[in-house]
């Protein structure tokens, strides 16, 4: 029997990059085929070709053994290919059914929607695959994990047999990931075939039937989970040996650097997002803040760094009250901030790399004498930092947009770590980065801790928090629901706490 889907020799070039270079991929019926690769390896380009968003320069696509021409997403849908994008395409104020119908509405007399039939179909699909979705719920009221199921229902409703899931776990809690995997299993049991795009190795090992690894636009190889290991996959992705664990020495605790008391912060809509939390971070330790995104972590970090005003409570850094200090004052206290959204807050993408390397120290000597900027000093420092932090770039004058995500993040780290700092606030420091860069950033953070810097690490990635932290705080709905030593924490327990479960009282550490 031919594969359900076969890609043969797909190539696609963009100006200056060969995004896909003769890629072959075969998807068997009823399998979960993981497409693994770092950012920029060509996964997304390949899937966009398959979904008709790009036309390949070379190569052929076969569906059920027949050559297929896919020029647009509607061609793809007609061929039974459906895609769940990383960013959902849902209308929040519509119900689940309305969202599912969108684009393929059945109507009465051409203008009146026939909701009943559609709602029933949604119900059927939902039951058949164990998706558990209320057809009449409004999308804005349902959690992200359920929204994702709506996206899956959308493509099943259009009778897709081949499902492409683009980084589907990026937005989910550990529990939701488990549920998604159950759904994926029931989908393949019903005869569907799935392409699962990701750069998370553990997930691939847990769920995939076969794994194809891409690197630099080329197929490195196809393997099976039982025949490979995390280490092997990582080195296939990166092209060299990768150390997945971080060497963690026992912490050398020093003085209290960051002290937060009863902090309350409002979000953009004016609601309390941080509802009175207290903690402190000492020199030489990493306090990890775990939690599903949107539980007040963003507001917490912004308040600590002076970017958001504090409603109530106090923040002290090395004894100085910085509750209402300006961002610059806080920077000058020796606080480094690796922002959650590096492209929005951390970098000016249109600037050449060298300007971003001095983005918050440009006014200090030697980079400036009075108001005159000293280009020579900036160039010298930039060259040094590019070297020291292994930023891969052809030149320090290149625009920052053209750097990869990993190198952009290294740019921020280089800038922040080159100042004398006492406190590092790192929000999602490895978000969207590839294995190689994650390894690098983790090692750098650990080095800072060992040098005696206090580190506040905020991340929704449990693995990251657990690998790096000395203590772990779990945030849920604006509160710290648990604060425990890292060695006591288990994945399962943290996962439950992140989802709002109460901790057993005797285990709470004040």
């Amino acid at each position: 029997m031919p594969p359900v889907l076969e890609l043969r020799g797909i190539s696609k070039a963009f100006p200056g990059v060969l995004a896909n270079d003769h890629i072959d991929l075969a998807l068997e019926e009823g399998e979960i085929h993981a497409l693994l690769g770092e950012n920029g390896a060509g996964k997304t380009t390949l899937m966009n070709i398959l979904y008709g968003l790009y036309t390949p320069d070379e190569g052929e696509i076969f569906i059920q053994g027949r050559k297929a021409e896919i020029h647009s997403p509607s061609d793809a849908i007609a061929q039974g290919i459906g895609m769940v994008h990383q960013h959902f395409m849902l209308v929040p104020v519509f119900t689940v059914t309305e969202n599912v119908m969108l684009g393929v509405e059945s109507t009465r007399w051409g203008i009146f929607l026939k909701r009943e039939g559609a709602a029933q179909r949604v119900q059927e699909i939902s039951e058949q695959y164990g998706l558990k979705v209320d057809p009449n719920a409004y999308v804005e009221d349902i959690p992200v994990g359920v929204q994702q199921r709506v996206e899956i229902i959308k493509i099943l409703y259009r009778e897709a047999d081949i499902l492409i899931l683009d980084e589907p776990t990026a937005v989910l809690t550990p529990q939701e990931v488990k549920e998604l995997f159950v759904i994926m299993h029931s989908l393949v049991q019903e005869g569907k075939s799935i392409i699962f795009i990701t750069h998370k190795l553990k997930e691939v090992m847990a769920i995939a039937d076969r794994i194809t690894v891409l690197r630099d636009g080329r197929t490195v190889g196809t393997t099976k989970p039982e025949k490979t290991s995390l280490e092997e996959l990582a080195s296939m992705m990166v092209g060299r040996e990768v150390i997945l664990t971080v060497d963690k020495k026992p912490p050398q605790l020093g003085e209290v650097v960051l002290e937060v008391k009863d902090l309350k912060v409002r979000d953009d809509r004016g609601d309390l997002a941080v509802k009175g939390i207290s903690f402190d971070v000492r020199a030489g330790e990493i306090l990890g803040v775990a939690g599903v995104q949107g539980n007040g972590q963003t507001e917490l970090v912004e308040a600590l760094t002076g970017l958001r005003s504090v409603e109530e409570g106090g923040v002290h850094i090395l004894g100085t009250d910085t509750t209402h200090a300006t961002p610059r004052k806080i920077l000058e206290e020796g606080v480094a901030h690796v922002p959650e959204d590096r492209q929005r807050d951390g970098l000016v993408l249109s600037y050449p790399l060298l300007d971003n390397l001095v983005l918050n120290t440009y006014y200090l000597p030697p980079f400036a004498n009075g108001i005159a900027i000293n280009d020579r000093a900036i160039i010298a420092a930039a060259k040094e930092r590019v070297e020291a932090f292994d930023i891969r770039t052809p030149s320090i004058f290149i625009t920052t947009t053209s750097l990869s995500g990993g190198n952009q993040q290294k740019t921020i780290v280089a800038r922040e770590f080159s100042r004398p700092i006492r406190l590092l606030i790192a929000a999602q420091p490895t978000r969207g980065l590839d294995v190689g860069s994650i390894e690098y950033i983790h090692q750098r953070i650990m080095e800072k801790r060992d040098e005696g810097c206090a580190v506040l690490l905020v991340s929704p990635e449990l693995d990251e928090v657990m690998t790096l932290s000395d203590r772990i705080a779990v945030m849920y709905e604006g509160k710290i629901v648990a604060l425990l030593p890292a060695e006591e924490a288990t994945r399962e327990e943290l996962g439950l706490l992140m989802a709002g479960a109460q901790r057993l009282p005797e285990k709470v550490v004040a």
């Binding site: 100006p15 200056g16 990059v17 060969l18 270079d21 003769h22 760094t305 970017l307 300006t326 961002p327 610059r328 920077l331 000058e332 901030h337 922002p339 929005r344 807050d345 951390g346 970098l347 000016v348 993408l349 249109s350 600037y351 300007d355 983005l359 918050n360 440009y362 006014y363 400036a368 108001i371 005159a372 900027i373 280009d375 052809p394 625009t399």
Partner: protein
């Protein structure tokens, strides 16, 4: 096969572009845009010429005549444009030979009049274009340059006629500084409103324009304020001590303001790219979130950029009164402020680009009057300007017309980020 594929892969390091290409590349699209604009405006010239149209009515009987009429019409128009802005080549030649033979400059000065007019016209354009460009760099859309020019001109002219007894080396700089300050204060109001309340600067500056127009009406018509006793809506003449010196002698109006404008362009370049203040302004313009993150005050920079933009606009007005008109009357600025928005876009908000674009606009304006004398509607010039801007604003269109390959542009220019700004 595998070896071949290896060859096809792009090199990590791109071939370095030769120096001349790097220099000419950014000029290519504007040049083609201007060319295209001239061609299309030519069509409008033909369409607006009744003689040509009637010749076309007999196109099939006498195609020669139709073509001849077309050529005549377009060549007259563009010939007039050229003569009015650059000069008549044979006059220039005669002037030069007279200078060489007798040392008499009268003929040459006469022949150079169009060129002098072009340069003189470009002075307010340079200042106003720099004003808009500086705003753009901070992410601000200063629509109020027209009003700021007027305010600067009013302040400057007041100093020019009202304060007497000063030597020129005090009076002239004073008049200029007061003009710049007035423009700065006027536009800083809009900056302050934006920084403080988030009120959008486009709305604010448009409204401030109306205030400036009506304020000037009031001041000019009332003899007790700045009007003349006769009741004509114009101010008294400024004192000669406040004149910006005319450098080439009568009848040429070319004045020292031209070099001031070039100096201002150099200063703006230095300020934006070589000082910490400029770095902050550009950062706020490019990414206000990152600017805040880096400890810069977005509000402060809005006010500063708006103020400096207004100062440059004020200087545009001051230069016109002190260098050209020597008084201020109704219809003082023929839309320099509004043209300068397009001009700043044309110059990609870069001081050098602004100077080049201003020279183009100044030239077109000088040529326009000669075209008008030849019976060609002045609107053609406006159409021409509009076409140039349209094509500049749509580089993809120009590339399509001329089948240019898309270069991976390194766009550093940041335009304002729409209404949310």
């Amino acid at each position: 096969m595998a070896v071949e594929r290896e060859k096809e892969r792009p090199e990590g390091a791109e071939k370095p572009t030769p120096r001349w290409r790097r220099f000419l590349q950014p000029l290519l699209v504007p040049f083609l845009a201007i060319l295209t604009a001239f061609v299309i405006s030519g069509l409008f010239i033909i369409l607006s010429d009744m003689e040509v149209l009637s010749a076309y009515a007999n196109l099939f009987q006498d195609p020669g005549q139709a073509l001849q009429a077309t050529w005549k019409s377009v060549s007259t128009a563009y010939g007039a444009l050229f003569k009015g802005s650059i000069g008549n080549p044979s006059d220039l030649y005669r002037g030069l030979s007279a200078l060489a033979e007798t040392g008499d400059t009268t003929l040459l000065r006469k022949a150079a009049y169009p060129l002098s007019e072009s340069l003189t016209n470009s002075v307010p354009y340079i200042f106003a274009g720099l004003a808009v460009a500086l705003g753009f760099r901070c992410g601000l859309f200063n629509i109020g340059v027209e009003g700021q020019i007027l305010i600067g001109g009013l302040a400057s002219v007041w100093v020019g006629y009202n304060i007497s007894g000063l030597p020129w080396f005090i009076h002239l700089p004073l008049a200029l500084v007061v003009g710049a300050l007035a423009g700065a204060l006027w536009s800083a109001i809009a900056g302050y409103l934006k920084a403080r309340t988030g009120a959008h600067e486009v709305i604010n500056t448009i409204m401030m324009n109306y205030l400036a127009f009506r304020l000037s009406d009031l001041l000019l018509t009332d003899p007790r304020l700045m009007g003349r006793p006769t009741g004509t809506p114009m101010t008294p003449q400024i004192l000669p001590t406040a004149y910006l010196p005319r450098l080439l002698g009568s009848p040429l109006r070319f004045h020292a303001g031209f070099f001031m404008a070039l100096g201002a362009a150099a200063l703006v370049y230095w300020f934006l790219w070589k000082t910490t203040l400029g770095f902050e302004i550009r950062t706020v313009g490019a990414n206000p979130d990152a600017a805040r993150y880096a400890g810069m005050s977005v509000a402060k920079n809005f006010v500063l950029a708006m103020g400096l933009s207004g100062a440059l606009a004020g200087l545009a007005g001051a230069n016109e009164v002190l260098g050209v008109t020597h008084f201020l009357g109704g219809g003082f600025s023929p839309g320099y402020g509004f043209d300068s928005i397009a001009l700043a876009l044309l110059g990609k908000s870069h001081p050098v680009g602004v100077v080049l674009a201003a020279l183009l606009f100044g030239t077109l304006r000088a040529g326009a009057s000669t075209m008008q004398i030849k019976g060609i509607p002045i609107d053609i010039i406006q159409i021409l300007q509009a076409m140039i801007i349209m094509f500049i604003a749509a580089p993809a269109l120009v590339r399509l017309i001329y089948r240019l390959k898309v270069e991976r542009e390194v766009t550093e220019v940041v335009f304002t980020r729409g209404w949310g700004g």
